[in-house]
């Protein structure tokens, strides 16, 4: 079922790319409509899976990726509608398409392990997914900032100059996305720590090696904290040292590449604590 939103995202990407190069407003509107249709289809898919499983499918890495893509699509649509700026779509959509391809090819719904109960677990996963979606936006905004910055510095006002919003606007959007992402990342990590403490206290915990592996030594947890450190530094640098512009743009790209690393390869191959 995840194939339907995937197809819509792919078509929307083509429309965004066409809009970006040719700047035809009608094509831009079509692109937005296609993306809204994709997000609605995705909402439907997640809703169906929720009804089928009796809970929101957020446990396995595959479902989590699908949820992340859905959140990112919604977050992007929100920024597009509030800023009336479509130029970023062409950078966000490929991410949606590539990541959505993973759940589209692995359509199974994982059984939920008995330890994964309670509101804390829900807060943990949804906060982190939302944080990652914000960081994805920040990364894309950062990349566009660097592209525009380079054109202006090189005094060659071309492709991106004609299509992107101003440097200050991009810088501000980047900062805002990072602040929101950082807050949710912090909440998500704290919820995870508290949840792990509770899970250990459960009688069934002793039998579950995954609960035992919930420590700093686990790659997934370690990389998440590394991520938190990177974004905390970025916020600190922006507030205290006066970093901004290109430096924060690069940092948000670095931060998000760590997020992606944690999200796909670490989840599938390395972690011992998060392979539910």
């Amino acid at each position: 079922m995840n194939v339907v939103p995937l197809a819509l995202y792919a078509v929307a990407f083509l429309a965004y790319a066409w809009h970006f190069t040719r700047r035809n407003p009608a094509v831009g509107q079509t692109a937005t409509i296609l993306l809204v249709a994709g997000a609605l289809a995705h909402t439907f898919v997640i809703g169906m899976q929720t009804m089928e499983a009796g809970h929101v499918p957020i446990t396995g890495p595959t479902s989590a990726i699908s949820d992340f893509v859905w959140l990112l699509a919604l977050a992007y649509l929100y920024t597009e509608m509030t800023t009336d700026e479509r130029a970023m779509g062409v950078f966000i959509l490929p991410l949606l398409v590539v990541l959505q391809a993973i759940p589209a090819m692995n359509p199974s719904i994982e059984e939920r392990a008995p330890v994964l109960q309670g509101p804390l677990f829900g807060i943990h996963v949804s906060s982190l997914l939302f944080a990652y979606a914000s960081f994805a936006l920040a990364c894309v905004i950062g990349i566009t900032y660097v592209l525009l910055f380079k054109e202006i510095k090189a005094k060659h006002l071309g492709f991106f100059y004609a299509r992107l919003p101003s440097l200050q606007v991009l810088d501000r959007m980047n900062q805002r996305a990072i602040v929101i992402g950082w807050i949710f990342l912090t909440v998500g990590i704290i919820a995870g720590v508290v949840f792990a403490g509770q899970a250990r206290a459960l009688p069934s915990a002793a039998l579950d090696p995954r609960v035992q592996a919930m420590s700093l030594g686990d790659p997934k947890i370690f990389v998440a904290l590394l991520c938190w450190a990177v974004y905390s530094f970025e916020l600190f640098a922006a507030r205290r040292i006066g970093w901004g512009g290109r430096r924060t743009a690069y940092l948000s790209a670095l931060g998000f590449s760590i997020v992606l690393l944690n999200f796909v390869p670490v989840s599938y191959f390395l972690t011992k604590s998060h392979n539910f």
Partner: protein
């Protein structure tokens, strides 16, 4: 009905002649004078700095053409012998194409300049106010607005600044976004500095400060600009720290701002960008200062280079803009051609209506057999039914006829209808040599069409 344009522009006439035939402020008077000459049914006068044109709709192109040329010299009091070599005249399809190209900015001195579409709209509004616009020119001008708008949104013809001062403002906007809360510092109180500061002020920046080695000069220039302030040379560093945009325009001949100086200025600014426009020649700012992370340094050559790039980019968009114009001209011509069928359609309707009325009259006698109180209702009912039958019978042939794009086929179909139904109303006018029959009749039967429209819907 034919469309005609007679006029001159920067392409055909020198500036002194263009000044002589300027309609500025006298457009209404010109429209009144045109209407009283009687050679045209409809007229619109388009007058800008670079062109003076009269658009008209007329039955007789030859007469109207000569009369419009005569009108141009009469109205402005210019010798026709001096004027006529510079006048151009275009008819029908060519005139439509011309207007669409004008509205799109393709015929402008600076290709793609934005004002012309507004000027075309204003010309149309003035003529509408003077009631010299009829259905043909109204449609023509509205189509030209559509063409102009499409070219602006779908091509890059109007994109990019094409003057140095606008290029500087566009760059400032690309760095800072909104300029409203920005502060501009002008170093040097000369003419160039003053002009640039005025331009920035007109773009809505919050504050303009002028610094000069001679405080009196700075104060006087600030006063001339209005709303600007002056600061002594010694306070330049403080002013630099507070500014977003710096324009250097001294005649010093030596470097005013070095890289190390600017590095010191930038440190307390943290990450706030500084846009420096060095319009002095020789330059006031050390070129290496552009290497500082948040310093964007442009000199006059850089700005001129971006202007050249923009002009080249506009030139490369001309082809796609012309394609849009061609498409819109095609749509307009299809509409114009569909009007050729109108006399036949009107004659056909008249014929049917005459038959219907005759039959209703005959029926009236039979209806008198009914009780008196039932008669009006029965009469209304029969009237309604017969009217609807005629409407439905005529709907398809009318649409088919109007949908034909090809002039010859419309003529052939009209001819066939005229013969088959024995239509006479379009042949009772006097034939005139050199004009096509349907068009000649059109002006006369136009009111019928307007009247028959509501019944089309019923």
């Amino acid at each position: 009905m034919h469309i005609l344009v007679v006029g001159l522009s920067h392409r055909t006439a020198p500036v002194d002649l263009r000044e002589c035939v300027d309609f500025k402020g006298r457009v209404e008077a010109a429209l009144g004078a045109l209407a009283s000459r009687g050679s045209t049914h409809e007229a619109v006068v388009l007058s800008t700095c670079n062109r003076a044109e009269v658009y008209a709709a007329s039955d007789d192109v030859g007469t109207a053409r000569a009369d419009l040329a005569a009108f141009m010299s009469d109205f402005h009091g210019v010798d026709p012998a001096n004027l006529s070599p510079h006048l151009y005249d275009l008819a029908d399809l060519d005139s439509a194409r011309h207007l669409f190209r004008v509205a799109a900015g393709l015929d402008s001195l600076v290709v793609g300049e934005p004002q012309i579409l507004g000027q075309v709209k204003e010309a149309h509004a003035l003529a509408t106010g003077a009631q010299t616009v009829g259905p043909v020119l109204n449609r023509l001008f509205h189509s030209s607005f559509a063409a102009g708008k499409r070219v602006r949104t779908e091509t890059g013809l109007a994109a990019g600044a094409v003057s140095v001062s606008f290029a500087a403002v566009a760059l400032a906007r690309k760095i800072f976004g909104d300029l409203k809360r920005r502060t501009v510092l002008v170093i040097g109180a000369g003419e160039m500095g003053k002009l640039t500061a005025q331009h920035m002020k007109s773009q809505g920046v919050q504050q303009v400060t002028i610094v000069s080695r001679t405080m009196a000069h700075a104060a006087r220039t600030a006063e001339l600009i209005g709303g600007a302030s002056a600061a002594p040379w010694e306070e330049m560093d403080a002013a630099l720290g507070a500014s977003d945009i710096v324009i250097t325009a001294t005649g010093a001949g030596t470097t005013i701002l070095t890289k190390s100086h600017l590095e010191a200025v930038m440190r307390p600014r943290r990450n706030r960008p500084l846009f420096i426009i060095d319009i002095a020649m020789p330059r006031d700012v050390e070129p290496a200062a552009g290497e500082i992370e948040q310093v964007f340094l442009y000199n006059i050559d850089d700005l001129q280079a971006t202007v050249r790039e923009n002009l080249a980019r506009r030139a490369s968009e001309v082809l796609s803009a012309e394609a849009i114009v061609t498409e819109e001209v095609g749509k307009f011509v299809a509409w114009l051609r569909s009007r050729v069928a109108i006399p036949t359609v009107v004659a056909l309707r008249q014929k049917f209506e005459i038959i219907r009325r005759a039959e209703l009259e005959r029926l009236d006698f039979k209806l008198s057999a009914l009780p008196p109180d039932a008669r009006p209702e029965a009469r209304a009912c029969v009237d309604e039914i017969t009217r609807l039958i005629i409407e439905k019978l005529l709907l398809t042939p009318t649409e088919q006829l109007k949908g034909l794009g090809d002039h010859d086929r419309v003529a052939a179909y009209s001819e066939a209808l005229t013969r088959l139904f024995g239509l006479t109303s379009s042949t009772d006018a006097e034939p005139e040599p050199g004009t096509q029959r349907p068009e000649r009749v059109e002006g006369r039967v136009e009111p019928f069409r307007a009247k028959s429209r509501p019944s089309n819907r019923g």
